[in-house]
């Protein structure tokens, strides 16, 4: 009996010691597989050579390539035409990033979409709960809590449908509004390239072609590598709030940085575009299902685009105008200078009188 108790005690102790490592493993394995279509810049010149990179992990770091047989659709929409991307065009840069070198076409607003086939994953209740928390699938976590099913293991089917919108040249075309027909997808309400930093962008979320209301969406951004921001000379460098850019996975790491939004009745979220940068939206729609041994079904979606500031006749430009403004002489110098001049004039007139 004593021996049995000791054994149970040892197992409990061992479990307690190893629990953080289990959780850490779960986070690493399960929380880092958003799929994004990344480009160095989403502003291209006509016929410019560029690369699409599929980041399967976080927006900052990809952990896995995408197997070609997993791609249900990969296509580019431009000037009203949708062109499929040949499977053979994709290349794996290493074991983590799948890339597509390409040459931009004529000027216009382009859309690229990637849709993956359904896959499934069995998870323990503990792993699943951890993943829900760290990936921000809070509605499902709440449902499990409320239905007292937190201890149930799951077999989840998942699929990912991602898009990026990029601008070639200056000419804006209407392709940004193209619905690719994916099971879940973001569709902007207006052209992101007719929006500028300081403004907002409405984006509609469609599930099976219908607006998806009351769905959690996370929006975040990184500063453009090539761009510059009005904030470069300001004191507003904490634009990400608590968003850490280090890639260490730990108990504090979540995929829920940035702005947490919820779609309205029309399935629309309003995304703030506070400064120049590459913006990315992500959502995971999850539902409980009873399809054979599948217990849960999740549909993942991301949308990526870039925002810059407005340049035009109505606005200031950086190289000329804005710097001119910043060279402004302090008011007190102007006042003192004016007083001095008036003083000199006063002396002149008084002498004459």
């Amino acid at each position: 009996m004593m021996k049995l108790n000791k054994s149970v005690f040892s197992k409990t102790l061992l479990h307690k010691i190893l629990k953080p490592f289990y959780l850490l493993s779960a986070v690493i394995l399960l929380c880092s597989h958003d799929l994004y279509i990344k480009m160095d810049s989403y502003f291209l010149k006509p016929h410019q050579e560029a690369i699409f990179s599929l980041y399967n992990g976080t927006f900052e770091e990809s952990e896995n390539t995408i197997a070609r047989h997993r791609m249900e659709d990969a296509s580019v929409v431009a000037h009203g035409n949708r062109t499929a991307i040949n499977e053979g065009q994709w290349k794996d840069q290493d074991s983590t990033i799948t890339q597509l070198p390409f040459k931009a076409g004529e000027a216009g607003t382009y859309v690229i979409g990637i849709s993956t086939k359904v896959n499934s994953l069995k998870q323990t209740a503990e792993d699943f709960n951890g993943y829900l928390k760290h990936d921000g699938v809070l509605d499902m976590l709440k449902e499990r809590t409320e239905t007292n099913t937190l201890n149930e293991d799951v077999n989840e089917s998942y699929e990912k449908h991602v898009k990026a919108i990029y601008q070639v040249g200056d000419k804006k075309t209407e392709d940004w509004k193209t619905v690719l027909g994916y099971p879940i997808e973001f569709v902007p309400v207006s052209n992101p390239y007719e929006k500028y930093s300081g403004q907002t962008l409405d984006v509609k979320l469609l599930l099976e072609g219908q607006p998806l209301a009351n769905q959690l969406v996370y929006a975040d951004f990184v500063k453009s590598a090539h761009g510059h921001s009005h904030n470069d000379h300001g004191h507003h460098h904490d634009h990400h709030g608590n968003h850490s850019h280090d890639h260490e996975h730990g108990t504090d790491h979540t995929h829920t940085n940035g702005e947490q939004l919820r779609t309205n009745a029309e399935g629309i979220v309003t995304v703030k575009l506070p400064e120049d940068g590459i913006y990315y939206l992500r959502t995971i729609h999850m539902a409980k299902v009873d399809k054979g041994d599948i217990t849960h079904e999740s549909k993942w979606s991301t949308l990526t685009f870039e925002v810059t500031h407005q340049h035009g006749s109505h606005t200031h430009t950086h190289d000329d105008h804005e710097h001119h403004h910043d060279d402004e002489l302090p008011t007190w110098v102007f006042i003192l200078g004016s007083i001095a001049i008036i003083g000199v004039l006063f002396m002149v007139f008084r002498t004459k009188e």
């Binding site: 300081g198 004191h235 804005e322 402004e328 008011t331 001049i341």
Partner: protein, 225 residues
Amino acid sequence: MKLDSKKAFTLLFLFLPILSFAHDVTSADQEILRNGGLFAYIHVGATHMLTGYDHLLFLAGVVFYLNGFKDIVKFITAFTIGHCVTLIGATYLGITANEHLVDAVIALSVLYKGFENLGGFEKLKVKSPNLLLMVLIFGLIHGFGLSTRLQSFENGTEDLLAKILCFNLGVEIGQIVALIPIVFVITFSRKKKQFPSFYKAVNWYLVLAGIGLFIMQMSGYFSGH
């Protein structure tokens, strides 16, 4: 008007560099607007007016010409109505123009006021236009200048009218704050026996400042800066 032209132009070129720095919006202002909401528009409107030398010089010219407090209120009200109309209307409708050209016209309004105060029209044996009407017209022009400036910010489309109204409110607050010392100094100086010299000095300064600002703005327009 007995300052000889040689001395006048010497003074003009002496303080041209100072005028070249007359008010502008800064990227710091843009940051305030970007992060501060509607209150930021009040703040930027007020600071813009307080550092808007051309607006203040014109106001000083108007006040200098007037004797009674009632007149001051009447003319300042006309100026305020004028600039509110174009500031709100032009900004809301997105009507804008090259800011150097608008500021050049505003500079001419400063020159005009100094010239009129010095009895320029009488010297030319020309009847001076109705002052109240001119102040209203110049108010409209100054308002358009303020509008052009406001539109040079990235204001977004949300709550645009509220932002314009808040900026306008800030302008009025700035105007009142600026007018207090101006009225005080002018009223105080009237009691002094050297007032005629002071009057001439200030109004000649307005003439020179108007010319200087005009040159700077036209120079900016032609050089593209």
